[in-house]
């Protein structure tokens, strides 16, 4: 088995397992949609094996396109943020092209309701064709997937103290990262305090 340090860096398009949270949420396969080094997080799309029940909001990706042993359904509306640390220790299972990921993100953004409009032949994918109806059981399944995914992921708040702590921990040895005008003020304060302490200690 490959050592953690040998595993390739996280990059857009990779398909990896997002680790479970013991007793809270079970693991899922995800496709990386955006990588943010600032706080070591990334945006991920939820993947699933329910290709037969893929709705027009999902994109069914063949095993050849995804370099996987099985077809997979990418759930277009299930995009959220995860810690890179909970992906990095798992190997790359498959790979989607960056263009495909961007096309799906764009298609989902411009049509929040109804079918995703994407050039199927260009990307060798298929938009789900199951027209779900009001009382269809598929909604229950999707609800459960959404609930699990929301526990595995989070919404980032750049103004929060949590974000500031995380930013500081990751970047405290990289002064240039603090030059960004969008850096959280608390993060700047942490840096100022620690710098002062180092000077006092010296």
């Amino acid at each position: 088995m490959m050592e953690k340090s040998q595993l390739p860096k996280i990059a857009i398009g990779q398909v990896r397992k997002l680790d479970s949270i013991d007793g809270i949420a079970s693991s899922r396969l995800v496709a990386i949609a955006e990588v943010d080094a600032m706080d070591a997080t990334c945006l991920v799309f939820l993947l699933g094996n329910a290709t037969d029940a893929a709705t027009p909001r999902d994109v069914v990706i063949s095993k050849h396109t995804a370099a996987l042993p099985y077809d997979i359904a990418l759930m277009g509306d299930y995009l959220s943020r995860a810690d890179q640390g909970r992906l990095a220790s798992n190997p790359i299972i498959g790979k989607l092209s960056q263009e495909l990921i961007q096309a799906i993100r764009h298609a989902v953004d411009i049509s929040p309701f109804g079918a995703i409009n994407i050039d199927e032949s260009k990307y060798s994918v298929e938009v789900g064709s199951f027209p779900a109806q009001k009382y269809d059981a598929v909604w229950t399944f999707r609800d459960a997937e959404a609930a699990n995914f929301s526990l595995l992921t989070f919404v980032r708040n750049k103004s929060s103290l949590n974000f500031a702590v995380r930013f500081y921990q990751i970047n405290h040895q990289n002064p240039s990262a603090f030059d960004d005008p969008e850096v959280n003020l608390d993060a700047l304060r942490f840096r100022a305090i620690s710098k002062e302490r180092i000077e006092v200690a010296a």
Binding site: K17, P69, Y70, S129, F130, T140, N148
Partner: protein
């Protein structure tokens, strides 16, 4: 009894064999046994799922060959799972999908038997139509008809019963009229092929509610499914009836299975009460009432089915049930 197999055991075995081995097979078989028990309780014969009889080994073999290996779902589970409970839920899904896939021919026959008379009513005739044509015309026509079928309004049921209709009669008549108008040349072969393709998409979706995210199957596997056990116990109790007992005895037992609230729901439904009215009678919200109505009607159907009598006898039993509930007709309306 709770299985002591861990996810690590299954994972190690998969890595060693580069595929599912004996431990995986044992897990699948355990789930198959549970699912077969469920189907038997519902009185569903194995034939409608394409099996000669209910045999957990046969079903497990089919799941492994068609789904775990054939569609590489064992690899998907290996790639995505970290706990045994999660693995069992996904395996349970596979058992469910296998059964649904194998039921499609039966469903096609069922829908076709309801559709054909309506096609004829709409002016369609099988005579003079080619039984099979491999040209691209047929392929595009089938594709269009499939799309129409997928968009037909489906009845709100899970399709779990042997002959539970997927579409209301009116819906099928409308569909038949569309076929006659847009594709008058469509042969029985074309329509049946379209039905088969569409139902192959519909079936797995219909089984999703009961599996995948539900704890129920797992509870059933490890033997802690209290709700299912209670339900099964009632059904077994019903199964023990002597078929020669008179209708009153059957009716009385139906009422006992339904219990007081269920009997009230059956009466209210029969008298044409709306969901809101039933909710008011029960003193619950409409949403809760809807769930209880659904559960009661399922229980009633299962109970009647378990008696293994004909439609006519079932009708008489229900008449007797209403008599016992003190129902009568006043000004054309059923009252108590």
């Amino acid at each position: 009894m709770t299985s002591k197999v861990t996810w690590r055991d299954l994972r190690d075995e998969f890595e060693k064999n580069d595929g599912p081995g004996q431990l995986w097979r044992a897990e699948v078989k355990r789930l198959c046994q549970y699912r077969i028990r469920q189907k038997k309780n519902l009185g569903l014969p194995a034939e409608i799922f394409g099996f000669v009889d209910w045999d957990a080994d046969d079903l497990a073999q089919t799941v492994i060959a068609e789904r775990l290996l054939g569609r590489a779902q064992a690899r998907y589970i290996f790639d995505s799972v970290a706990e045994i409970e999660h693995a069992r839920k996904l395996l349970s899904n596979e058992v469910s999908f296998t059964l649904e896939d194998r039921r499609v021919p039966n469903q096609v026959d069922n829908v076709w038997s309801n559709l054909e008379p309506r096609l004829r009513q709409a002016g369609w005739s099988p005579e003079g139509k080619k039984s099979r044509n491999d040209s691209g015309d047929d392929a595009s026509m089938i594709k269009e008809i499939v799309r129409k079928i997928l968009n037909l309004k489906r009845l709100r049921n899970r399709g779990q019963q042997r002959l539970s209709p997927l579409f209301a009669g009116e819906t099928l008549l409308g569909f038949a009229e569309q076929i006659v108008e847009v594709h008058p040349e469509a042969s029985a072969y074309v329509i049946q092929t379209a039905l088969r393709t569409a139902l192959a998409k519909i079936s797995p979706r219909m089984s999703m509610e009961a599996v995948g995210s539900s704890q129920e199957d797992f509870d059933g596997v490890v033997g802690t499914g209290e709700r299912n056990r209670g339900k099964a116990a009632k059904l077994r109790w019903v199964e023990n009836f002597d078929s020669s007992e008179d209708l009153s005895a059957h009716a009385l037992r139906v009422l006992q299975v339904l219990e007081q609230e269920g009997s009230e729901i059956v009466f209210q439904v029969a008298s044409g009460a709306t969901q809101s009215e039933i909710a008011a009678v029960l003193g619950v919200s409409r949403t809760t009432a809807v769930k209880r109505i659904e559960r009661t009607l399922e229980l009633l159907a299962e109970t009647l089915k378990s008696l293994e009598l004909g439609e006519e006898e079932n009708l008489k039993i229900m008449q007797e049930v209403f008599v016992m509930l003190g129902a009568g007709i006043s000004d054309g309306v059923m009252v108590k």
